[in-house]
């Protein structure tokens, strides 16, 4: 059988092209043709079942790549006292397989519908392009169903592996996100694929060449268009921009010495960082997630810690236990006069690197009651406050997004709307991960997505990863990361002062 007639091979090729675009830096343009083999496969399948399996095969390639950073996670069983490393690795493979399969079926469902459409009609072509992002969003639902665990808040957020994410790497295409979010970008991407596929199918060779040349010209022009400059020209608030200085930290614990010594070392370097930042008169001192350097809501204020009078605002976060026994991961602002809570983390489900329900089941089956108890205690979080207070410092009105919350579509938009923020701060921790290039790349892309979508600059401090700041167009202002070495920087970010 010819390769172009085999739906499974075509589907696999489509999935591989998406994976290539997703993981290879600079290969974002491959996305514009990655869907074509899938469309071809949809014409070759002979039944709904075949369409489903071919689509799922492509989905496995797409999602398997999107979740590849699962393998950089420290095996959870080890963290919870089950020291058998083989068991840990098995569980990561199990998690990755299950998440990949459960989300991959959505591509299968998409192909089942596409098979029913007649791609020579405009309306049908539009339906294909609209259904593609719709079924990508459906993956968030299947992920949530899979990672469900009683007592753990689990909003829809899992955008890993989404086809439009690679386009974030291109400055021009990234700006599209401001006018319709990730679905708009995915829709345009799918539409470009449908149009190219349509041109390839045109029987008149001359017309086909014209169509192809036209589509390629449009794609190239948009890719190199100075979109940011155009947006800046149209921005009525541009002249009102004012600076905010933010101190950022990329924190690395020493490799050896055990957990207590690592924590002590981190506390010392974090303390030094805060003292430097205050001396440099930073408006905001942003700590990585869960640093808990100062004890929140006590007399332990920034002034007493640094021993100096300062206008800086210190943003930290950590686990808070209420008197009722509820547990939240809360961000708080600490000033010279006192401290106040900012926002509680929404995305609390362990990020797919393991599955809470299955993990507990496994511990129960193994009779590991002590570990199970510890797991339940440590992972049982409340919903917390979605939108609490805002931190004000100098020209900044800052809202906080935690770590992988940047993957949650429109969270920045929602926080901006609710709190009236003019800058987003992201305390993050990759402390559960070994250094992972793919994870770091993803985090920067998703942060860029939040920045452009909300129209706000964004700054992030991280444990075991890159600290960075970007403007509201998602352009990196600075990025620091030397694996194994703690580094800090002071960056000036332009914001629009608001009341």
């Amino acid at each position: 059988m010819m390769f172009t007639k085999n739906p499974y091979l075509l589907a696999l090729l489509g999935g591989a092209l998406f994976a290539l675009a997703y993981r290879v830096p600079g290969a974002w343009f491959v996305s514009f043709v990655a869907l074509i083999p899938l469309l071809m496969a949809s014409r070759e399948v002979r039944s709904a079942r075949e369409a489903f399996f071919a689509g799922t095969l492509a989905g496995i390639a797409i999602m398997g790549t999107g979740c590849s950073w699962f393998f950089a996670a420290y095996p959870l069983p080890t963290v919870f006292g089950v020291t058998n490393s083989l068991f840990g690795l098995t569980f990561i493979i199990f998690s990755w397989t299950l998440v990949t399969l459960s989300t991959a079926v959505c591509v299968g469902f998409w192909m089942m519908l596409v098979r029913l459409l007649r791609l020579e009609y405009v309306l049908d072509g539009l339906a294909v392009a609209v259904l593609w992002p719709a079924f990508e969003y459906l993956r968030m639902f299947t992920f949530n169903a899979l990672t469900f665990a009683q007592g753990i808040h689990n909003p829809l957020f899992f955008t890993a592996g989404f086809s439009a994410v690679p386009l974030i790497d291109n400055e021009s295409w990234r700006q599209v996100v401001a006018y319709g979010g990730l679905p708009m970008l995915a829709f345009l991407l799918a539409l470009a694929n449908v149009l190219i596929y349509g041109a390839l199918r045109t029987k008149q060779q001359r017309l086909s060449s014209f169509q192809l040349a036209g589509i390629c010209a449009v794609l190239i022009i948009v890719s190199v268009l100075p979109t940011v400059a155009l947006r800046q020209m149209m921005d009525p608030n541009r002249s009102k921009e004012a600076p905010v200085t933010v101190a950022l930290l990329s924190s690395w614990a020493p490799d050896t010495g055990g957990r207590t010594l690592q924590d002590d070392a981190l506390t010392i370097t974090n303390g030094q960082f805060v003292r430097h930042a205050v001396t440099e008169h930073a408006d905001i001192v942003l700590m990585p997630e869960d640093s808990h350097l100062l004890t929140p809501f006590s007399l332990d204020t920034l002034g007493s810690f640094t021993g100096t009078t300062t206008n800086s605002v210190f943003i930290d976060s950590g686990l808070i236990k209420t008197s009722g026994g509820l547990r939240f991961v809360r961000a708080y602002a600490d000033t010279i006069t006192g401290d106040y809570g900012l926002r509680d983390k929404l995305v609390l489900t362990p990020q797919g690197e393991y599955l809470p329900f299955f993990f507990k089941l496994l511990l129960q089956t193994l009779g590991a009651t002590k570990e199970e108890e510890r797991f339940t205690t440590n992972r049982n979080y409340g919903n917390g406050i979605g939108h609490g207070s805002i931190a004000t410092a100098g020209n900044a009105r800052a809202s906080v997004l935690f770590c992988l919350e940047v993957m949650m579509p429109r969270l920045g938009v929602s926080v901006k709307k609710e709190q009236g923020a003019n800058i987003l701060l992201v305390p993050a921790s990759h402390g559960w991960f070994q250094p992972s290039v793919s994870l770091e790349h993803d985090i920067i892309r998703f942060s860029q997505l939040q920045a452009v979508e909300s129209g706000l600059p964004l700054a992030s401090s991280v444990i075991h990863g890159p600290a960075f700041a970007m403007d509201k167009y998602g352009r990196l202002i600075t990025s620091i990361n030397t694996p194994g070495v703690t580094t800090e920087t002071l960056v000036t970010v332009p914001v629009i002062p608001t009341k």
Binding site: V114, D124, V130, A134
Partner: protein, 286 residues
């Protein structure tokens, strides 16, 4: 007027309006709106069911409707809620008018279009006021008068007597004005309630008329029993799901019973029931 016509045309509509007013008086507005949403899903599902049975819902149409659904759902995120509500309201008015014309007159023409226009303009003004705070009722009333004049001139020129459709649409328009002002007087801020009421009226009329349609064919008694079972079972199932939704057991049910999703389902229902020929007929003198 024959007894059948009295029952199937006038009585069905009068009883539907009375039931709706009773529901509006008994239930608080939010619960009434939620009832409309729950019963609406039953109405939509049954409509798709019968379309499928009649062979009018093939695979391609399902795929296109899925695309349309996704697109409209996406718009929920982008378009301000009040605008979306208004667009849905306008879409529902068109659907209601087309359906009424179809049920009463069997076919459409420029006459049915002009008959329905005053009703649509006045309701349009009501929902514009309710959702967009636009006070355009006087202008729409003026346009309605213009539409009536055009209708009269056309009827006189073509020697056409008013039909059941004419009386029905003018009655809807007059009734809507009365109920709108009553609602404004007694429940200020909730005048939009009557618009939701009209949606409920539409469901009730549809259920009754479909029953009569099956009754006309005496040999189809088993179908009537099946029809009742379907209506009851489907609505009970939806009520059960609605309870789960209210208890927040299954968040995904927001896609069925959330106001945003209901707007999408309503528009989808409207699109899926449009017959292109009918739209063309609206501009033809027949």
């Amino acid at each position: 007027m024959s007894r059948t016509m009295f029952v199937e045309v006038i009585l069905v509509r009068v009883i539907s309006v009375i039931i709706t007013i009773a529901v509006a008086l008994i239930l608080p507005f939010k619960l009434m709106a939620f009832t409309v949403i729950v019963l609406g899903q039953g109405h939509f599902l049954l409509a798709y069911w019968y379309q499928a049975e009649a062979g009018k819902l093939d695979g391609r149409k399902i795929a296109l409707l899925s695309g349309g659904f996704s697109f409209l759902l996406w718009l929920v995120l982008l378009v301000p809620v009040s605008y979306y509500n208004f667009i849905t309201g306008a879409g529902f008015l068109l659907h209601f008018a087309l359906d009424e014309g179809r049920l009463l007159n069997k076919k459409h023409s420029v006459y049915t279009a002009l008959e329905a226009l005053p009703f649509m303009l006045i309701y349009g003004a009501m929902i514009a006021e309710g959702y967009l705070s636009l006070h355009i009722l006087p202008y729409m009333a003026g346009l309605s008068v213009l539409a009536i004049i055009c209708y009269v001139v056309l009827c006189v020129r073509n020697k056409r007597a008013p039909t059941t459709t004419s009386y029905a649409f003018f009655s809807w328009a007059v009734l809507s004005i009365i109920l709108y002002f009553l609602a404004q007087k007694f429940v200020p801020g909730y005048a939009i309630m009557w618009f939701w009421g009209l949606i409920l009226v539409h469901y009730l009329i549809w259920y009754a008329v479909y029953w009569f349609k099956l009754s006309e064919r005496t040999e189809q008694k088993p179908q009537r029993t099946e029809y009742i079972w379907r209506v009851v079972a489907l609505n009970l199932a939806l009520v059960f799901l609605a309870v789960l939704y209210l208890l927040n057991v299954i968040p995904l049910l927001d896609l069925l019973f959330g106001v945003g999703a209901f707007n999408v389902w309503t528009l989808m229902h409207g699109f899926s029931s449009i017959r292109p020929k009918e739209l063309r007929d609206l501009f033809r003198i027949q």
